[in-house]
């Protein structure tokens, strides 16, 4: 009987385990293997060499590009967190009726009805040298010359990131906030805490798991992105994703795989560190 139950448990777990093995673990193992291979102009050949890693760690460009990637991730994270937290706070604590809450929440998701790329590209005519933003500012007399840094700059890249990914912050934070027992807020108030003190000592600690989930979403999305950086910077800036996509375009698969392995390791380490601080299982 006991043995049977044991077997049954394995059987029940096996479909998911097999799916993960075939579609998650095997491809990653493959990438790691290929990262040690060699490449010619037009083909790749099996080998076990460290050339790809040597070139990667030996090039100052790699460090600069990783630096830029961290910069994008950090600034985007800070902005999406502050906007996301504010929006979630408003929805959870200021809007009283549940119908209104749901309606406003759905409103936040409307931009997601179109594709990522469209939302991103629609910024380009808006921010351009002769775009709406510049024309408006000039007609208001605020500036005489069009602002060049609005488009094809770090500014436009981060703007697009924040626009694309803020919702990934709003949703988990809103979700955690809704679970906070309102009695705790009343208790804080009864004990003489000001609004700010309640926020700082009650709401913030209780929202941490939500913030952490949102952070993981945003950081991994930004670290792995390449298309936003390409379009919004007019190919002028690079992050790690672009390094990989350039390599792939030029048929340098092993080199792309090596970069991917380093990026994967970096992101995993970052997430591991974050999880040391907050136990998100409480949330799940």
């Amino acid at each position: 009987m006991l043995k049977n139950r044991h077997l049954l448990g394995w059987l029940q777990a096996s479909p998911l385990a097999l799916v993960l093995l075939a579609f998650l673990l095997a491809p990653i193992v493959m990438i790691v293997i290929v990262s040690f291979w060699g490449a010619t102009e037009f083909s790749i050949y099996p080998a076990f060499q460290f050339d790809n890693y040597e070139f990667l760690f030996g090039s100052p460009v790699t460090y600069r590009v990783f630096g830029a990637t961290f910069k994008y991730a950090f600034i985007t994270w800070a902005l999406t967190l502050s906007i996301g937290f504010t929006v979630a706070y408003f929805l959870a604590f200021h809007v009283r009726s549940q119908t209104m809450q749901i309606a406003l929440f759905l409103l936040c998701t409307i931009p997601f009805w179109t594709s990522n790329i469209i939302r991103m590209i629609s910024w380009i005519p808006f921010l351009g040298r002769n775009g709406i933003a510049n024309q408006t500012l000039i007609s208001w007399g605020l500036i005489d010359e069009p602002l060049e840094w609005l488009l094809y700059s770090d500014f436009s890249v981060i703007l697009a990131f924040v626009h694309l990914y803020t919702l990934f912050m709003v949703v988990p934070i809103f979700n955690t906030m809704m679970r906070i027992d309102r009695a705790l807020l009343e208790a804080a108030r009864d004990n003489g805490a000001s609004g700010l003190q309640t926020l700082r000592h009650v709401i913030l600690p209780l929202t941490k798991p939500g913030i952490m989930i949102g952070t993981i979403f945003v950081v991994t999305l930004v670290m792995g992105d390449f298309i936003t950086v390409r379009f919004m910077s007019g190919s002028q800036r690079a992050n790690v994703g672009r390094l990989i996509s350039n390599d792939i375009a030029l048929l340098q698969y092993p080199s792309a795989a090596a970069t991917a392995v380093v990026l994967l390791a970096t992101v995993l380490i970052m997430i591991a560190v974050m999880l040391r601080f907050v136990n998100i299982r409480k949330e799940l």
């Binding site: 037009f42 375009a249 048929l251």
Partner: protein, 423 residues
């Protein structure tokens, strides 16, 4: 009840499908004309010549189906090198051919089966446009146009009976400018890095082509004397990138472009006033009513050529159909279609029959147009009395300074290119 009905339908479908498969595999005697209708050839290539109008005309004239896929140059290279079974016909550029041919994914073509071979322009055979012309630097088409024998993975030095690509389309590229926003004559490639156009210049982010534009600029500036622009040494590559990286850091470039549409938008929106560009992109900007000139420069043109290659897996009836397609391609209709967009056909004399005297005069002979010039899709490209930028076919193709190239140090160049983009 409903469930059993579904099952029944599916089974009947399977039955019908099985019968169809049996019918098509059984060697029943059939007419050629009947067979050719069932043939589908899958062609892929860069956007310039993968036109649905061509596929439609093929169906009409030859009867078989041609499926077209348009990709950017890098993706085309990638696909030709890594997925040989995904295509029957590769419409690629000559420099891509140099990269891809050694993989053995393409098969050579028997020249004796090409009806119009003798009429193909000299550039693709001996390398010389006219007997007196000099051969430009870079991967000139004739250097990778022939192989010594079927199955060879190296190229032949002279014309043989085995051709790698059948040339279809080519042009001479230069810089595109917005004359209204620049307001003075532009005569040299050096202007691309002129600080006057700081934040208003662009080049294309395709390494094999971009490096040649860079070389044209550096040479024109007198900064670097290249032994052969099409086959640079590591030092030459380093110097070239040093000059452009410095310019990039100083904010010379507004953006880099990778696709045709991006280049059109950059120019039309006024983000950029001078940039590397392709001929039909100029046309596209002009058709929006915005002035744009394909500026001939004193140092000459950077040229490119494309051709059709056959997948090594093609055989039997499909191979015959492919030869028929190639012969049809060179017989004039496509040539006329392409020439009316500003490209050149490999066999111009057959295309002449498919163009009006006015069109032939404007596009090929560089004469003043006697009437409105329209594109094959009906957009007005020029008014009566205008002449083509750069003049006649012989003026333009005769002033080619280099061809798009793949160099011996290509892998090194590619890594430097990656660094340049990240710089």
């Amino acid at each position: 009840m409903a469930k059993s009905k579904v099952g029944y339908t599916r089974r009947s479908l399977l039955k019908a499908g099985g019968a169809a498969i049996a019918a098509s595999t059984l060697p029943a005697p059939m007419l050629w004309a009947q067979d050719i209708k069932d043939i589908t050839l899958r062609q892929f290539g860069t956007g310039v010549s993968n036109l649905n109008d061509v596929a439609m005309k093929v169906k009409e004239d030859l009867g078989f189906t041609l499926e077209m896929t348009a990709l950017d140059s890098d993706s085309v290279t990638q696909r030709a090198a890594t997925q040989p079974d995904s295509f029957d016909i590769a419409d690629i550029e000559y420099w891509i051919c140099k990269k891809v041919w050694p993989t053995g994914n393409l098969q050579a073509m028997d020249v004796s089966k090409i009806a119009n071979y003798d009429k193909i322009v000299g550039i693709f055979k001996s390398g010389k446009l006219t007997p007196e012309s000099e051969i430009a630097q870079g991967t000139a088409p004739h250097t990778v146009g022939f192989i010594p024998e079927p199955g060879a993975t190296t190229f032949a030095d002279e014309q043989t009976n085995w051709m790698t690509l059948i040339p279809t389309i080519y042009n001479a590229d230069t810089l595109g400018i917005r004359p209204d926003l620049i307001g003075r004559p532009i005569e040299s490639w050096t202007e691309l890095l002129n600080p006057e156009f700081k934040g208003k210049a662009s080049i294309l982010d395709i390494s094999s082509i971009g490096i040649m534009d860079m070389a044209m600029v550096c040479e024109a500036m007198g900064e670097i004397q290249y032994g052969d622009k099409g086959n640079m040494t590591k030092e030459e590559i380093d110097k070239t990138f040093a000059i452009f990286t410095e310019a990039k850091r100083a904010g010379q470039f507004r953006a880099f472009w990778k696709t045709f549409d991006e280049s059109v938008n950059l120019m039309a929106s006024g983000e950029v006033v001078i940039q590397s560009m392709w001929s039909p992109a100029i046309t596209a900007v002009k058709s929006r009513g915005i002035p744009c000139v394909y500026q001939p420069l004193k140092e000459g043109y950077r040229s490119w050529g494309g051709g059709i290659g056959l997948s090594s897996s093609l055989s039997g009836m499909e191979l015959d159909a492919a030869y028929e397609y190639i012969n049809w391609y060179l017989s004039g209709w496509v040539g006329g279609y392409l020439m009316r967009q500003g490209y050149y056909s490999a066999v111009p004399e057959t295309s002449k029959d498919y163009m009006s005297a006015n069109e032939w005069g404007y596009w090929f002979e560089g004469k003043e147009s006697t009437d409105v010039i329209t594109s094959p899709t009906g957009d007005v490209l020029a008014q009566a009395g205008e002449t083509r930028d750069g003049g006649s076919f012989y003026d333009r193709m005769g002033a080619v300074a280099c061809w798009n190239a793949v160099m011996d140090e290509n892998q090194y160049m590619v890594r430097k290119w990656n660094e340049f983009i990240a710089a």
